[in-house]
Symmetry: C2
Subunit: 415 residues, 2 copies
């Protein structure tokens, strides 16, 4: 008998008939002699409905009461799913954040989970119930309701799985799992049966939206076996088949000895490049440029600096595209102050990255990548590497071509 | 400085703009140097929305999870009103049933309040906040959410006022207060400045829908000064005027010595009469008729039995109109068993009642009532009396005429 945490979100619980379908699916797992704990998020559209009312009333973005209102969405789903399970003859109990309790740090609208006491859930399980837990929320030491920020339900599910030492945490989504790259761009992209936590993190940081970054970090930290699988299959799909479907996110050790060089290709168009040109090449320059950016709460991604020959250097970095104007406004006085030759913003770029733990032990990946891009006449503007990732910044018009050629060059279609 | 509990329900919090209006009203009271605690119910339509989803999923009427879902309605209102107050510069905190905590008895969908610990609300007040408490709900010993049944928010408000020893509990409604009778029936009905708890209870039991019966009982039991007043006036209405508006429900002692004979006239069309005819007049008959009715969960109101002369008697009682068929089905075998001559159901009747604590010390009220009805040719089918109420059952077509003639006969238009 396995203890499994299953998470169902947005569209999969978007209506009462969807919720009945989820109940059917859960009941199949229960009848297959598993102990199931379910984590749910709000019905699709519900969180938006609540936030529309909130913004009718206040301009505030962070408030104890915003959390009090927002947290009700998940409570409705949990109660309804529990009723739907009972209707199928499966005893069930719903749990809110405070009923578990899931203790959070008091940072309204973006709280972090401090700890989870699994006792109530475990006793509900041993009394023969299927516990349905609200995702996205917890309670702080002052007994106020906190929410984890949008999408936090994945993190709730992983954290609950960790606290219960569950055998697996299954995140049901509207995709089949994690692909070698986005199938909308490369039609013969392959579903990965497994991927490591590190690779998954790198894919996510490159814009692959399958799972929330925080939930993957959490799963890696607490050794939770995490599976992404589809909520769009029929709930009557055979249990053995469903149990093996999707993508399992595991530790490197869990995999076979032979690592693939490259597991996947991710990309992100939502970036802009900023270059401070002709900066005098002396200590403290990087700090004097990036400190005001950090103070303005702008997140910086790829950073590249080349040592110049004439005693000056070009300093480039990427930011989210929506932050470009703000970034340039912030840097204009700085550029003047440090006597830079020019300040340039460029919002028609994109990032494309190769990810794979196999890179560590295989030389030549980078040169193979650069050759493939050069064969397609794609100009590389920036390069950034980590242990298991090589990212290039290129013109956004070349994004699809680059992804396709790299997918082919590294034989990802043969996975 | 007075401590006042104010309750706002359904339509008065039916939209975000309504909620902003309530915030204005509350802020006026706060600026008038009062300590205010607000109790809210769900936004109009919200409870129905939730129950529609519940009935999509389950046939069950009573379930822990129905309460978990239904209780979210008030949580949304409480959070939004708190945000609206902050927007006006009034610090505010929302409290759910479990955050107060309001302890209830565990009877899902129709729980009763066991006790309220006012400590958190009082400390919120002394920290300078306006606490906004969710009505309609509490938490049982197992930490499950309970609801008090529809309309239970009035009871929540009174119970909170009692636990805080508030100076007054104000129930804002969509009427101006309690009238001598329904102004839709008698156009010159008068607003009562005061009414006693007992009179209010009798008015409510006769169908006057201004306040929930339970909340009045509660207020009477715990000596809470209860005021019914209008939420439809402008929130900018002067505080002194608003403070004296509506109807104050008090103890008899609080009133002037001279009691009016009759305070009001209430009526109820939602009744049906059942008569078991020609029942052998012997001990145990009433029990043998009413026991199966009670077992079928049917509530009985007026009961009349006359001793017959031929050794048989007619036994009559009234039930809610919707229960008539079920009542007759239940009684058919019983009537046969006790050898009754006939069993008759009559669903075109109504109840009209005079209410007034002055009745106790004034003779002749009943005869004056019967004469007035007889002058109008209205036939009385049943009569039932209590210390402060005389109820007659008449044909429903005569209801308006009876109410009008009684209103005039007892000079209620001159109040």
């Amino acid at each position: 008998m396995a203890l499994i945490v299953q998470k169902f979100g947005g569209t999969s619980v978007g209506s009462t008939s969807h919720i009945k379908n989820v109940a059917k699916r859960v009941s199949k797992w229960v009848k297959g002699d598993n102990q199931i704990v379910v984590v749910v998020s709000a019905m699709a559209g519900e969180t938006n409905r609540l936030f529309n009312m909130i913004s009718d009333i206040t301009d505030s973005q962070i408030d104890r009461e915003i959390d009090a209102v927002a947290a009700t969405g998940e409570q409705v789903t949990a109660g309804l799913l529990s009723l739907a399970l009972k209707q199928l003859g499966i005893p069930s109990q719903s749990f809110t954040g405070w009923q578990v309790p899931i203790m959070t740090d008091g940072a309204y609208t973006k709280a972090r989970i401090k700890n989870i006491c699994g006792e109530n859930i475990l006793s509900s399980l041993s009394d023969g119930y299927v516990p349905i837990v609200t995702g996205f929320q917890g309670m702080d030491d002052a007994k106020s309701t906190n929410t984890l920020g949008r999408g936090g339900s994945d993190t709730s599910a992983v954290a609950i799985a960790a606290s219960l030492s569950a055998d697996e945490c299954q995140i049901y989504t509207d995709v089949d799992g994690v692909y070698t790259t986005d199938p909308r761009v490369v039609s013969n992209a392959c579903l990965l049966k497994t991927i490591t936590f590190e690779e998954m993190l790198e894919m996510a940081s490159l814009g692959s939206k399958v799972l929330q970054l925080r939930s993957v970090e959490f799963a890696g930290k607490y050794h939770v076996k995490l599976r992404v699988l589809s909520s769009l299959t029929s709930p009557d799909c055979p249990l053995e088949e469903e149990a093996k479907s999707g993508t399992l996110i595991t530790y490197e050790d869990d995999n076979t000895m032979e690592q693939a060089e490259v597991s996947g290709i991710a990309f992100n168009k939502d970036e802009a490049k900023v270059t401070v040109m002709g900066v005098p090449d002396k200590p403290g320059i990087a700090f004097s440029i990036l400190d005001p950016i950090a103070a303005a709460n702008i997140e910086v991604d790829v950073i590249v600096q080349n040592i110049g020959k004439d005693g000056t250097t070009d300093f480039s970095f990427t930011v989210a595209r929506k932050d470009l104007t703000k970034t340039l406004d912030t840097l204009r006085p700085v550029a003047k102050h440090i006597k830079a030759r020019d300040l340039i913003g460029d919002d028609d770029i994109c990032k494309v990255g190769l990810v794979g733990v196999g890179m560590r032990s295989h030389v030549g990946i980078a040169s193979k990548m650069f050759k493939a891009l050069s064969d397609e006449n794609i100009n590389i503007q920036m390069i950034s590497t980590s242990e298991i990732k090589i990212t290039v910044v290129i013109h956004e018009n070349s994004m699809e071509a680059a992804t396709k050629i790299l997918h082919k060059a590294f034989e990802l279609d043969k996975k």
